[in-house]
Amino acid sequence: MNLYREFVKGIWEKNPILILGIGMCPTLAVSTSISNALWMALAATFVLIFSNIFVSLVKSAVPSHIRIPIFIAIIATFVIIVELTLKAFQPDIYKSLGIFIPLIVVNCIILGRAEEFASKNTVLPSMLDGLGMGLGFGLTLTVLAFFREILGSNRLFGYTLIPGMEPATIMTLAPGAFFTLAMMLWGMNALKSRKRR
């Protein structure tokens, strides 16, 4: 098995958001500013890596008909660890991400990778799969947030870009996320089809 391939596939070839089309809810909700996007990506990647590791460790001991509750219990444990840690050491970030931290439990990327990859593979590839998928998720989120923060709030990294300019508020709302996501998909598909030719 090619470990490098398992790692990089999450970034482009099997990007969770753009290709697999999963994990849309946090994508649309927290990509309004780059700092939110980065912290969300960090939290989700942490949970992904560790849930993948533990799922691949226990996979042979778990009867297949109760695997989903077991996976959810593992994922929820790591989400609570992230939640408590952020609450204790990064209270501002915890405040601004709010409900979307506990909602990582039901992020389909994480359960999806546990079910589709970690429960069928050994520890090392599962860990790399988690890291790659987390990076793919984080990169997409950051690019999305980059455009939404500039156009929607006239800011970058929380700093005003053009003083006094009225930003296009629609970009911070859900339609803005859909527009940007559609543009990114368009760009990605255009690149892909050019490669194929």
């Binding site: 909700a29 927290v30 309004t32 500013s33 939110n36 226990v58 001991a61 778990v62 009867p63 008909h65 109760i66 509750p69 077991i70 219990a73 593992i74 929820a76 444990t77 609570i80 660890i81 408590l84 840690t85 609450k87 204790a88 050491f89 209270p91 405040k95 601004s96 991400l97 709010g98 409900i99 979307f100 929607g152 800011r155 970058l156 990294f157 929380g158 700093y159 005003t160 870009l161 053009i162 003083p163 009225e166 508020t169 911070t172 709302l173």
Partner: protein, 231 residues
């Protein structure tokens, strides 16, 4: 199949046990830090909403299902002693209860407010906590940034300063508040709603009006008790 039921039960139970065990340890590690953060947040909120005042002890009065928490404070100004009050206002917003600490002077004018707890949508209602940086992005990357004096108060909270909490507070939709809007809004006793989050704005406004009514009732009752005690 039958033999797998006890086995499944055991495995599920074991998973839950291990998870609970691990989490109890994490909780034990983080709890003192979280409590310290919350205590500090309460203290700095009191300092913010009652600037320059000496804050007395915390009091509470029954209100609806829960309790209404308030503080009395005083400040010496020349010969006179000015009184001030702080209370915790709460009301359901779009994504849960919003708790706000409100400081008012003896005339009912708001000295400052501070959002203590909220779970509004990030990028919309949660912008009530967002402070506009005075520096622009280019000033920061070119190193011309003005010194980062204390963190600016979020505009949403800033605009409540000076508003009369005893009267009806209006909501106008003028986008993000800035200093130049202060005079006009003050005349109307109005605040500007967060774009796309009018429900959030209204919840804070309503909670302040309600809290003010509760504060008056609680103060009257307290005064009544004291009178009775004196007799």
């Amino acid at each position: 199949m039958n033999s797998s039921i006890p086995r499944s039960t055991f495995i599920l139970g074991l998973t839950a046990f291990v998870a609970a065990f691990a989490l109890s340890h994490i909780k034990a590690i983080t709890r003192p830090v979280i409590q310290k953060q919350e205590r500090r947040k309460m203290e700095s909120a009191l300092e913010l909403v009652l600037p320059g005042y000496t804050v007395g002890e915390e009091r509470s009065a029954p209100a609806g299902k829960g309790a209404f928490t308030y503080w009395t404070a005083s400040k010496a100004e020349g010969d006179a002693t000015r009184k001030g009050y702080a209370f915790i206002a709460e009301k359901a917003g779009y994504g849960g209860t919003i708790q706000t600490m409100v400081g008012v002077d003896e005339n009912g004018a708001i000295l400052n407010i501070s959002i203590i707890r909220q779970s509004e949508t990030p990028g919309l209602g949660a912008r009530m906590l967002e402070a506009a940086s005075r520096n622009t992005f280019f000033e920061v990357i070119t190193g011309n940034a003005k010194s980062a004096d204390e963190e600016p108060t979020p505009w949403f909270q800033e605009q409540f300063r000076g508003i009369n909490a005893s009267a009806r507070i209006e909501i106008v939709k003028k986008g993000d508040w800035n200093e130049s809007m202060r005079e006009e809004l003050m005349r109307k006793n109005a605040v500007s709603a967060i774009t796309g989050a009018t429900i959030t704005t209204k919840a804070v406004k309503d909670s302040i009006e309600e809290g003010m009514a509760r504060l008056k009732a609680a103060l009257d009752e307290h005064a009544g008790h004291e009178e009775a005690n004196a007799r």
